[in-house]
Symmetry: C2
Subunit: 384 residues, 2 copies
Amino acid sequence: MEETTMTTTKPNILLTPGPTPVPPEVLEIMSRPIFHHRTPQFRSVLKQLQEGLKYVFQTKQDVYTICASGTGGMEASIVNFFSPGDHVIAVNSGKFGERWVKMAQAFGLKCDVISVEWGKAVDPIDIKKQLDAPTGKDIKGVFTTLCETSTGVLTDIKAIAQITKNYQALLIVDAISALGGEDCKMDEWGIDIVITGSQKALMIPPGLAFVAASQKAWNRAKDANLTKFYLDLKKYQKSLLEEDVPFTPAITLVLAQVEALRQFKEDGYDKVIHRAKKLAEATRKATQAMGLKTYSKAPSNVLTTIELPASVDGSKLVKMMRDELGVTVAGGQDHLKGKVIRIAHMGFIRPQDLATGFKIFGEALARQGYQCDVTKAVEQFKNL
Amino acid sequence: MEETTMTTTKPNILLTPGPTPVPPEVLEIMSRPIFHHRTPQFRSVLKQLQEGLKYVFQTKQDVYTICASGTGGMEASIVNFFSPGDHVIAVNSGKFGERWVKMAQAFGLKCDVISVEWGKAVDPIDIKKQLDAPTGKDIKGVFTTLCETSTGVLTDIKAIAQITKNYQALLIVDAISALGGEDCKMDEWGIDIVITGSQKALMIPPGLAFVAASQKAWNRAKDANLTKFYLDLKKYQKSLLEEDVPFTPAITLVLAQVEALRQFKEDGYDKVIHRAKKLAEATRKATQAMGLKTYSKAPSNVLTTIELPASVDGSKLVKMMRDELGVTVAGGQDHLKGKVIRIAHMGFIRPQDLATGFKIFGEALARQGYQCDVTKAVEQFKNL
């Protein structure tokens, strides 16, 4: 009978850590007739965008909007602030830390890697040790990830920023999967470069990357001589002074982002972060109630990685949940393939989405012979 | 009485050469709930996108979709196929030719410039002369523009391709404002690299750039050693083999592009190009009927640049047309500022939009004291 109910009311729920669901008001805006970007109408939009971004970045610095995937924003943070041969360090504790390493190497930086076991967070002390080492005095940048999307691990950026501010090294934070879901106070904490994307906690489709830089970073930019054009932030900076953009912007996505940021601000920074935190706690409790373990030793507010029972084929499970049962979650990457699922709880994802998600998760596990009490898991999302 | 009619039925018509109006079916698609991109559903979308793009590019080569403004696509054509110090030539006959020059220089290429008076097209023979000159034997690329958006001038790419195919130089064509509105047969003509954007004749909002390259270009790519990561086409190539994308794509825009390309193919390549041609002819006749001149000596099918009477303030005119009369056209750039308007007639722009556009144009001219017979201008768009 349970299965009949499932079939007749097949949901359509997206619980992946990017893209995340888009609020209906935002979807509606994207279906309106387009208008030109060199107009007073769009200048007013750009002004609202800037205000909304500064609020979510918690910064007084300008935030630059690039039409690109998050990786384009990451690249902007390299090509604008570094030169070939610069010595940097990157924390590698998953797929996106690894991307920092590959990218730094692609642009000819001398990149030392702090390798951290998947599932664990870097110890800030290990960064300090590198900076204090005899070979560390020329380190110009520390590349990190606020939340490592491949593992769901949260990095203690506040503690790292306390360290880096005493050195010449810039602290660069890939906050793509987390800004707007995790606390990340750029100015107060002293982060030099923050990068995020539109399709995670910022609640709109992918296509926009956002980058902000501290005064310390801008001072460094003067001598940075990696080649660049489209991602040259000085062009964006110059245009912004004229309330303009250097290249044709993704107008539709910009309009969507302004509305999503309006909703974010209306709810309030602390309240939104708190909401993600509550959902994360409930998700971990629900996981436990099903007799399962969370993978991350330093779990984030934005997504939870759940270890699957050894008897379960995780790739099959993800497919079944999506194609037959109507709930899309993410599987594991690299050596975690088939062994974990990743469930997001940020942005527009609501308690009832997670409740349904866990009900379906239990159903899919049962179909692979793993029986557990879903009721107690689903209960965790009540009254949130 | 004419003015009363205007006020009570103020239109909302976009006639700029990018963005251009988006068909309602495409707008509707962008308002649908988003789904994840690493799914069979999106793989099927990518397949359709590839087929649609190959058709509009008239190529058997794969066409790569980059989440970026058109300029990002232009940059991809430099960083993937050239090395620092490479000798290239660029045709500069307006703002976008100038962009090629600036970009080539930014990446350390040795760029000779063929300067052409604004409003005129480059003579293909001038390119041949450069390639045949004693200093020309090491020229590795010729950078051109299919339609120079700042002037509305069409370049004879077919003739230039006939020349470049006998040399080692690659022919790179910025077709951003024109592909899908002008004839541009990549394979048949022998163009090496074609770049376009989503927001012109391809009828969707800005945010996607498309790049295709010939075998001759790919052979060159092997030794090209400019630094790159986000715009590294080999990453896109490798992903495409796995029916995937290297970075999170702008899902919403990709879905929109698939529908717009479906409409393009349904109408048919020749028919769509012919329609733009007919609208362009009617636009030039309408211009003449108003006692005005077209600026370009080699007018394109996609946009027409109209010289304004000396007594008219073009900047004021554009503002009045847009803010008071409901029709958005583009003004002039650089030294043409205030002296011309640019009207697009590609993609989803219909005869009735141009008829209304000219009616409003006449009204705006009259408000600045220039009287002309609008009726005859408007008539040009009947029965098209």
